[in-house]
Amino acid sequence: MIWKLAATAAHGPHVSLVAEPIFNIGPLNITNSTLLGVVGGIIMFWLLLSTVKRIKTGKHNRLSIAVLWLFDILFGTVEEILGSRDKAKKLAPLAITIFLFILINNWLGTFPFVGPLTWHGEPLFRGLAADLNFTAALALITMVTAQIWAHRSLGLGGNLGRYFGNPFKDFMHVFSGFLELIAEFSRLIALAMRLFGNIFGGEVLLLVMAYISGPAAPIALIPFMLIEIFVGAIQAYVFFMLTVVFVSLGANHGHDDVSSEVDESRTELAAPGAPV
């Protein structure tokens, strides 16, 4: 398969920003990224359901222990940021699904069958996160969830009060509220574009390296695939962390201790070498 990737690349890298439609269901285009997303979803369901089955029977294997260990870490992170186990139980399904779904699909995207396998001249599979529709959907879900949590925590007036105020009473608050409003939209766009850019860039990198290395591509691509595996995991974790942090920002608005924790989390995420 990797030879085919090299052979395809030998004709010149075909780069498309847009996911190619494979077939239609009514007005909806089913794209190659959606197909890989379905494969990733099936793998994720199989992993989690087999772990649940192992938990019920009490007969664990290495895979179920690894999944449970990963879930424990992620759940612990959510609990630590939100500061409450009950709150963590409510947010964890969304945040952990985001992580697992992005991680599995990012790793699937580095497989050699993504790209060379074609259907009527179009690649049959494409990395799910290399489709802006998916990353934008996740970013929208995250920001809407953050707003819902803020609304539940602060009430309608309290939540709106974060963005709007009386200019005659506190002009600075009006200004900072306006900045906060812009920040919300910039977070939405940054969330979507960061993941899309990293994963799409990774795919382009693999294609270009395959084109440049020519016949040596099967060996030359291996380090880049390893890098993409690493970047895929980092990006999944970054999206997961930002989801939890944005929700916690809304839910704990005004609490200095939580804000400082969030700032620390951001500092960690922005550490040198982390491709955020």
Binding site: L17, N29, V52, L68, D72, T97, N133
Partner: protein, 177 residues
């Protein structure tokens, strides 16, 4: 930016940019809906089991921790009790030792007094015996002297002296005076 807009067909504005990036509302809604469906299914049928397993593990850890703390308390209590018993034993041993020392001192003193008394008694008895022996020796010496005098007198007088002759000689001597 220009190459994106060119790819979008030469349009301009944010709409053309979104088109160039492949962003379209039906796909966005489909992706969001499908993902929320996945979250809902996993949240209902999968994660509760995983969270339950984590809770069970957490409870198990807490129970182990509690047991460890209780065991530590019991150990501390046992150590305290052992220390107390050791202290009591030490105190009792000190008391016994002090008592034994006092007894030993008393016994030594009593033995010393008894020995002194016995020695003094022995000395007194020895002195008395010595005194009696001296007296007896004196008596014997006196009678021996008298016998020797009688023997010497008999030897001088060249006659055998007996008690009647002695009495006669003594009477004669007294008359001569």
């Amino acid at each position: 930016m220009n190459f994106l807009l060119a790819e979008a067909g030469g349009g301009s504005g944010i709409g053309a940019l979104f088109t160039a990036l492949g962003l379209n509302v039906p796909a966005l809604v489909f992706n969001a809906g499908a993902f929320l469906l996945v979250v809902a299914v996993l949240g209902k049928y999968v994660y509760p089991h995983l969270i339950k397993a984590l809770d069970a593990k957490k409870e198990e850890l807490e129970a182990t921790s509690r047991m460890e703390q209780e065991a530590k308390k019991v150990l501390d209590k046992a150590e305290d009790k052992a220390g107390q018993v050791v202290n009591e034993a030490r105190t009792a041993a000190d008391e016994i030792l002090a008592s034994a020392k006092a007894d030993a001192a008393a016994q030594i003193e009593a033995a010393r007094a008894k020995a002194t008394e016995q020695a003094e008694r022995l000395v007194a008895e020895a002195r008395e015996q010595l005194s009696r022996d001296v007296m007896a020796a004196r008596k014997e010496l006196k009678s021996e002297t008298a016998r020797l005098v009688a023997a010497a007198t008999a030897a001088v007088l060249k006659e055998k002296l007996d008690s009647s002759r002695d009495s006669e000689l003594i009477a004669r001597s007294l008359e001569a005076k």
